[in-house]
Symmetry: C2
Subunit: 336 residues, 2 copies
């Protein structure tokens, strides 16, 4: 049985080849900035999802047709990473300095905009890979809808930094937009490339969306308890930004009055954050078992996602079903 | 004969109605930031071009079909304005403070990204206005191609701020990308909505592209010699940023050694720019008649654009031809 990380690497090669062959132009500085994070690596989870779903429902031919759509979701994702890193003042990602750290903010804004436009261009290109104009139109509808949701999710994330009346349900809604929407789109696009019925497209979208929420919860977890050598990101940066992650929300809901006040004071935008105080919050998350509770919720999402794939009819490639089930487990067990 | 500014106002109403009805959502802060410049006004030159070309080639029905495409070019343009204002550190536009001045940089980046995604969504919507999937696909191809060119043009503009070996031909190439590409796309989209042949689509694209270069030269001129009360933008901001406008390039090519050295020193990125020195450069532009020479070149572009429209066959609405000819003259005579 192939290891999931090996499978991701295999798909990464297909995607990277497609992207690097087409994302060329002048000025060189702009294209280098735009390709920086892509060249730095990354899991390629989103495009892999597109290709796997296409194969699941339509075999190797559908997988091949899905290639431009898979490339589109990957570069759309990279565009949001570049812009989010500016907003969140993050210095490292995928083990390398972020785009705005290396090229400055103006170039990072532009590099993101360039990738954003190329994402849609790749969808246009999909007709050269055998998609009909009608399928390409459907793909465009899916990607624009996701793009709008991702912007809205990031806006909520920014708003939440300054608010304290955030409930778990608000967090989940924010995460469904910020991260779930693009994974939902990734899965849907694979189904469109396989010429699946609209019911199946919707079902696969649900699978992707559930995976996305679980993925983000794991991301929050790794941001506090992960190994920066593996994640490629500095530790505690969410806490330093006062992000209302699920870990923080669960801790607040269970903490003593004293601990609660300490957390609120420390995470407030105006408070200078000492490394000691931030580490103390990480400790409180553990003490109140918020880490366990958060990962439990993530697993609930994963189980729901797996049910969808398990019960799916019209599957033409059983091996892909198997991989998609294991991919769901990987999302919440990954260390990077 | 209707006044061009009156015609622009008439079209602005159609476009604004379409945009304001659809650009709604949460969080409110995000949508307010995204709509800020649209609400502040603007000439709506690009969408007007789309609607006029559609009418020229296909009558009122084509004009109606072109509405979502016209809205798409307008909000795509607004997205680039919001992001460019961050990069250029501009504080005012259309007579109001810029988005990043009012909401901060993070929100300005996000508001631009939201508009960018909506621009493509509006193209997707065009099938609800009677466009075929194939025409919608063609429209998407045109808009993505323009989007990529605009990013590249802005990148060249940033690069030129630090370089001195810029030739007039480099400036024209930069401007063709930065401004020409979106006007080219605006005209092409109108032709696509009118179901024109690909030859005619290309011809209309040339008309729009030529107009775009002329428009930018006039913009550079108004940035130095315009009335901020009319343009809505502060005076001399290009000079303060060390932009290599056509005015500066022509002045440098004709200036004495002494004046040349003064201009280069003053406009260099590292030099603190006094209001006196900047005003002196404006004076030198006049003294060396670079303003006249620049507007003469703009008029050459306008004349070429008018020739295309004059000689065009297959026109179904002669009144629109007349307006497009006068619109070309307006581009280089406008005061705002």
């Amino acid at each position: 049985m192939e290891d999931i990380e090996y499978i991701l690497l295999k798909y990464a090669k297909i995607i990277d080849h497609y992207i690097l062959e087409r994302l060329t132009g002048t000025p060189e500085e702009l294209y280098n900035a735009a390709l920086h994070l892509i060249r730095a690596g990354g899991k390629r989870l989103r495009p892999t999802l597109t290709l796997l779903v296409a194969r699941l429902l339509g075999g190797v031919e559908a997988e091949s047709r899905a290639t431009p759509l898979a490339a589109a979701v990957e570069i759309s994702h990279n565009f949001t990473l570049i812009h989010d890193d500016i907003m969140d003042r993050d210095d490292y990602r995928r083990g390398v300095p972020t785009v705005h750290r290396l090229w400055g903010e103006s170039w990072a804004i532009l590099a993101g905009d360039l990738l954003h436009a190329y994402a849609y261009k790749f969808v246009v290109n999909s007709v050269e890979y055998g998609l009909g104009k009608s399928e390409s139109h459907e793909a465009m509808k899916i990607l624009t809808t996701a793009g709008i949701k991702v912007s809205r999710g990031q806006a909520y994330d920014l708003l939440f930094e300054k608010k304290w009346d955030i409930r778990v349900i608000d967090y989940l809604d924010m995460v469904h937009h910020k991260t779930g929407a693009m994974l939902e789109a990734s899965a849907k696009l694979g189904a469109v490339a396989a010429r699946a019925s609209s019911d199946i497209v919707e079902l696969m979208g649900q699978y992707g969306g559930l995976l996305g929420v679980a993925f983000q919860i794991r991301d929050d977890y790794l941001g506090v308890f992960g190994d920066p050598g593996k994640t490629g990101k500095p530790i505690y940066s969410d806490l330093r930004r006062g992000k209302k992650t699920l870990l923080v929300l669960y801790t607040l809901s269970k903490a003593s009055q004293e601990d609660r006040e300490f957390i609120i004071k420390t995470l407030s935008p105006d408070t200078a954050k000492s490394e000691e105080d931030i580490a103390r919050i990480a400790q409180l998350i553990k003490e109140y078992k918020a880490d366990i509770e958060a990962m439990n919720l993530a697993r609930v999402y994963v189980e729901r996602a797996k049910e969808i794939v398990s019960e799916l009819r019209g599957v033409v490639d059983e091996n892909s079903r198997n991989i998609l089930l294991r991919l769901a487990d990987y999302v919440v067990s990954r260390e990077k």
